[in-house]
């Protein structure tokens, strides 16, 4: 095709100009692709940090007002759910497992380290349903042993058999819990887990601070929530009932907003690149006005002139996008590795590798966007070229 040929030759004739316009597109494509990939790898990291507890309904004392987010430190409170209400919850939950618990704290002392630690108090038989064992044994009955969270064990170098001081009393570590990540129900990684019997023996019977309902069938979650609500909240709001899906949605909404923001930054850089293409194309059309006049007068149609210039911006866009795509993949692999390093301390479960499909998705999106913007930016000058009056264009010098 003679017009593609002419477009290529014209771009070659102005090497520096074409190169700079291409660099603009490369930067834009790289910005969109790598920011997109980084954003999504960030969501994935956070997703990895949040334990998968989609089968959980969390019942907490009703707050007069709150953000609805159990991680929100502003809504932490020392309130309780009575034993009677736990009974009602059990009734409402039917065959699903109900784990009432007390979340409290006490002084912990290990060798010369001391400070407060979170303590999860729950019935001995329920511990295995919420916490996996990494080493040792689950505490049982009134035995004087306790269980410690995995990260607490790492920090303080605890093993089954180690002795620690809880509330001034020396106790033995029976088991170490497997790492669990952040959850809406419990966060035992840095905590001590004791049986209810152990606790009441020392502090007397107490009301529970929260109740976790493990729903064996995910589709039953709504029914369980409704049933609990029916049982307890009929007269006045006594408890808040949340399921993890709702909370994760809140998280992902925030992350999505951040993703859009990052892509927006990339979009702006591509916009700048398209302005530079627009500029290059306008210069090209102006320089070649007489040539356009000649082509038109010897029989080139408007659409052929339009096409010739569109090819130019298309070639710039495609070249820039391909180079940009390659650069993005390289950058993404480095960025992914370094983000994984950065978050390694947060003990992300499942690693932080970015799936190749996400990389390809964003790179393809950025490339398509790069090509699209180039063609759009080239359209106006090309159209102007096609609309030139051949007589006047011929006379142009």
């Amino acid at each position: 095709m003679i017009f593609i040929d002419l477009a290529v030759r014209n771009l070659r004739r102005h090497r520096a100009r074409s190169f700079l316009a291409t660099v603009g597109i490369v930067i834009g494509v790289v910005a969109i692709a790598s920011l997109g990939i980084m954003g999504s790898s960030l969501s994935m990291l956070v997703g990895g940090m949040v334990a998968d507890v989609s089968d959980t309904v969390l019942v907490t004392p009703h707050l007069a007002a709150s953000s609805g987010d159990p991680f929100d430190p502003r809504s932490a409170l020392a309130a309780s759910i009575s034993t009677k209400n736990v009974g009602l919850i059990e009734k409402a939950a039917g065959e699903h497992r109900v784990v009432p618990m007390i979340v409290t704290s006490d002084r912990l002392r290990v060798r010369d380290t001391s400070g407060y630690a979170t303590i999860y108090v729950m019935p001995a038989t329920d511990i295995p349903s919420l916490i996996e064992l990494e080493a040792g044994l689950y505490p049982r009955g009134r035995s004087s042993g306790v269980m410690v969270g995995s990260l607490l064990a790492d920090e303080l170098n605890l093993h089954p058999g180690s002795r620690i001081e809880v509330g001034g009393e020396s106790v033995r570590v029976l088991g170490v819990a497997a790492e669990r990540g952040m959850g809406i129900d419990i966060n035992p990684d840095y905590a001590i887990i004791v049986t209810e019997d152990w606790y009441t023996e020392r502090h007397g019977p107490q009301d529970y601070t929260r109740v976790v309902v493990k729903v064996s069938d995910l589709s039953a979650i709504e029914d369980v929530k409704a049933a609990i609500d029916q049982q307890i909240n009929r007269r006045s709001e006594v408890v808040d009932i949340l399921d993890s899906r709702e909370i994760l949605e809140l998280y992902y909404e925030t992350l999505d907003a951040m993703n859009v923001f990052l892509l927006g930054i990339g979009g702006v850089s591509l916009l700048v690149a398209s302005v530079s293409i627009l500029n290059v194309m306008i210069i090209s059309v102006t320089e070649r006005t007489a040539e356009i006049g000649l082509m038109r007068s010897i029989g080139a149609r408007k659409r052929e002139v339009l096409r010739m210039f569109l090819y130019e911006s298309l070639i710039l866009g495609v070249t820039g996008s391909i180079i940009g795509g390659i650069v993005s993949v390289v950058i993404a692999s480095y960025a992914s590795a370094s983000i994984a390093d950065l978050f390694a301390d947060f003990a992300v479960s499942g690693g932080a590798g970015i799936p190749i499909s996400v990389v390809i998705g964003y790179v393809a999106f950025a490339m398509a966007f790069g090509i699209g913007t180039s063609v759009v930016a080239g359209f106006y000058p090309s159209w102007k070229a096609a609309q030139l009056n051949p007589i006047e264009a011929l006379r142009y010098e």
């Binding site: 003679i2 007068s297 149609r301 408007k302 011929l394």
Partner: protein
């Protein structure tokens, strides 16, 4: 064509509206160009010669009156149709040669054919015409900037002839050339005319006009 004129102007006027008042570039011009003619259009600058040539070349349409190209009325035609007429029926030769700088000599000649047909056929035809106007094979691959003025105008003539047009329109074809080169160019045009090509040429050089067999004088937009 059974004696039908190549071009017929019927009371053709071209008026350019200007802020200072309308400019009448051509005023009720009637003329015919018959097949095989060699016509020189002469007149002072601003007399309307270029306007006449633009109308003959289907680059423009008249404000009033009618123009028939081989019996076909052109004023109502769309831009695409006029462009197709220019491509298939008319050859242009300009004072500035107006070759496409990115294309080699042979590609420039090929260009009008590439707008219609496939590549291989056009290359053969382009070489044939280039040879006919006296361009040596060694220059075929040269870009216009590497050719002399005379060579460029030969290439331009080859480009105008390549689609075997009904009408060859020349706008001061020797205006940018020295007299010796100019005569060589005129010899080519005259030879084309002898072989039956209809040529209309705008010039203000009487020596060049002498090659033509008929002269039309334009003064103030009218045929004098």
């Amino acid at each position: 064509m059974s004696g039908e004129p190549i071009l017929r102007f019927e009371e053709v006027s071209k008026i350019y509206p200007l802020p200072a008042g309308d400019l009448v570039a051509l005023d009720r011009v009637s003329l015919t160009v018959d097949p095989g003619e060699f016509i020189a259009v002469m007149g002072p600058s601003g007399s309307g010669k270029s306007t006449l040539l633009n109308l003959m070349g289907c680059l423009d349409v008249p404000t009033r009156g009618e123009i028939f190209l081989s019996g076909q009325e052109i004023s109502g035609m769309s831009d695409d149709d006029l462009t197709r007429l220019r491509r298939d029926r008319i050859g242009f030769v300009f004072q500035q040669f107006n070759l496409i700088p990115l294309l080699s000599a042979v590609e420039n000649v090929e260009f009008p054919l590439l707008l219609t047909t496939g590549r291989e056929e056009s290359r053969r035809r382009a070489i044939e015409v280039l040879t006919a106007v006296g361009i040596a094979e060694t220059h075929f691959a040269h870009k216009p900037a590497e050719l002399s003025g005379g060579q460029q105008q030969r290439v331009a003539i080859a480009r105008a002839l390549v689609n075997d047009p009904d009408l060859l329109l020349c706008d001061e074809p020797t205006g940018n050339l020295d007299s010796k080169t100019g005569s060589a160019i005129m010899e080519i045009l005259a030879a084309e005319n002898r072989e039956g090509k209809t040529v209309v040429m705008v010039t203000h050089d009487p020596g060049v006009a002498a090659y033509a067999r008929r002269t039309i004088r334009i003064v103030d937009g009218r045929v004098a």
